[in-house]
């Protein structure tokens, strides 16, 4: 059970963009160096603050995509065409530029690598980002907790972390990955194309041991739908932790 840790006040840190990795046509991972970064748990997020020259400022939250790694932090930004912040982060911010952020935030939607309980991760669209942090942490920490990721996305073009997920699935080291394509599947894909519905979820989630910890993340509608299906399929609501990215899944 996640605890509300007593931590101390959060302050704004100035990170620098060290490197960039393009994930898809509309998504890019920012690799940040954050002096003073206190470390984090996978699942936690940071708040980013942008300030224009006239003093106008705005903030957004982004899930941390990376496993803990000293002062290095990765964020995967999905560019929304009518967004205010995501086009800046995904297209304008350049190597060497500063970025104000604070964190890590969130003790509820977080996974402790020391926890041996089996984990079920269900992500929709960019909701896969914090779940990927959990997968990466599980691998890096040597945890043997069985972990299953079910990742729902529109098509191969929108699939984040494609190569890495393929490797992880092939490694067969206790982390299983199932991708559900809702609009169009790539050639050779064995499953049906379409939403992650009741039948599909039951088939993929498999038998649930008592004590499995479930994390569901994505746009609000996706999370509501999956959380309801899980509980109607017999999962105790207290085993299901959710994080919603708002109606459009972020901006």
């Amino acid at each position: 059970m996640a605890r509300a840790a007593v931590l101390g006040r959060l302050s704004w840190l100035v990170a620098r963009l060290a490197d960039i990795r393009d994930e898809t046509a509309a998504a890019r991972t920012l690799i940040l160096e954050v002096p003073g970064w206190p470390g984090h748990l996978p699942g936690q997020h940071i708040d980013v603050r942008l300030t224009a020259e006239d003093g106008y400022s705005t903030q957004r939250s982004y899930s941390i995509a990376s496993a803990p790694s000293g002062s290095r932090l990765e964020l995967t930004i999905q560019r929304l065409d009518d967004g205010e912040v995501s086009p800046y982060l995904a297209c304008v911010l350049s190597r060497g530029d500063p970025l104000e952020l604070r964190g890590p935030v969130g003790g509820y939607f977080a996974w402790h690598p020391g926890d041996p309980v089996p984990v079920l991760l269900i992500g929709g669209g960019s909701g896969v980002v914090p779940l990927m942090a959990m997968v990466r942490t599980r691998i890096a920490s040597g945890s043997q907790a069985p972990m299953r990721l079910i990742y729902s996305t529109r098509s191969r073009d929108t699939l984040l972390y494609a190569a890495e997920l393929e490797c992880i699935a092939a490694a067969g080291d206790g982390v299983s990955v199932d991708v559900v394509y809702t609009r169009s599947a790539p050639p050779g894909y064995g499953g049906r194309t379409g939403r992650l519905d009741e039948d599909r979820l039951a088939a993929l989630a498999g038998q649930r041991d008592t004590g499995v910890a479930c994390y569901v993340c994505g746009p609000t509608g996706f999370v509501e739908s999956i959380a309801n299906l899980l509980t109607s399929q017999g999962m105790d609501p207290r085993q299901v932790r959710t994080e919603r990215f708002g109606p459009s899944g972020g901006n």
Partner: protein, 198 residues
């Protein structure tokens, strides 16, 4: 203030001829303290309750029979955006208050759910306030307060309660939803009255 983010300008905005601290927007941001009510017109009612407990009520049909006017007003939100020249159609509060006997000095607008906003009764009269049901040539959408909202453009927009269902006339001032938690009791954008003590 935070460090400047190189190359960041945010959404299009300008200072134009606006109240202090505001910037101009061309979209119409949707703000809400709670879920959007989507009840139909069947149970809709607008009530004016006097300090003596007398109730004047209109259902949708009766409300729509009242004379309405087309107005063009500027909107100033306390979250700093302003939208100029917005077109509405609504029933003036003067029309609704006609025939209401009262000596009350204060009013509290009540909306579906728990939202309220208080203001002096005088700020609802003399052509300063409407119950608006059309925006920009179409029926007012739920996101912007439809079927009908209070519109009091000379004060910050939080006073213009969306999904309004009535106004209580009171002898005493009763701070509303935001006025009871730091927002200015009166809220004049031109004197930048955003918070208590401003």
């Amino acid at each position: 203030m935070g460090i400047v983010s190189p190359g960041f300008s945010g959404r299009r905005r300008s200072k134009a001829n606006l109240p202090p601290g505001q910037y101009l927007v061309h979209d119409f941001p949707v703000l809400s303290a709670g879920p959007t009510p989507r009840a139909g017109l069947d149970g809709w009612e607008f009530r004016i309750t006097t300090e003596a407990g007398r109730v004047h009520a209109w259902d949708w049909a009766a409300f729509r029979e009242l004379p309405a006017e087309d107005i063009t007003v500027d909107l100033h939100c306390v979250t700093k955006w302003s939208k100029l020249g917005t077109s509405w159609r609504g029933v003036s509060m003067d029309t609704l208050m006609d025939g209401v006997e009262t000596s009350a000095g204060f009013a509290l607008a009540r909306a579906v759910g728990d939202y309220t906003a208080n203001l002096p009764l005088a700020d609802l009269l003399d052509g300063k306030a409407w119950i608006a049901f059309r925006y920009d040539g179409a029926d007012l959408e739920p996101e912007h307060g439809g079927p009908a909202r209070l519109l009091v453009p000379h004060l910050y927009l939080w006073k213009s309660a969306k999904w309004v269902r009535g106004v209580e006339l009171l002898d005493h001032d009763e701070p509303g939803f935001w006025e009871s938690l730091g927002y200015h009791n009166y809220g004049d954008p031109w004197r930048e009255q955003r918070y208590w003590g401003d």
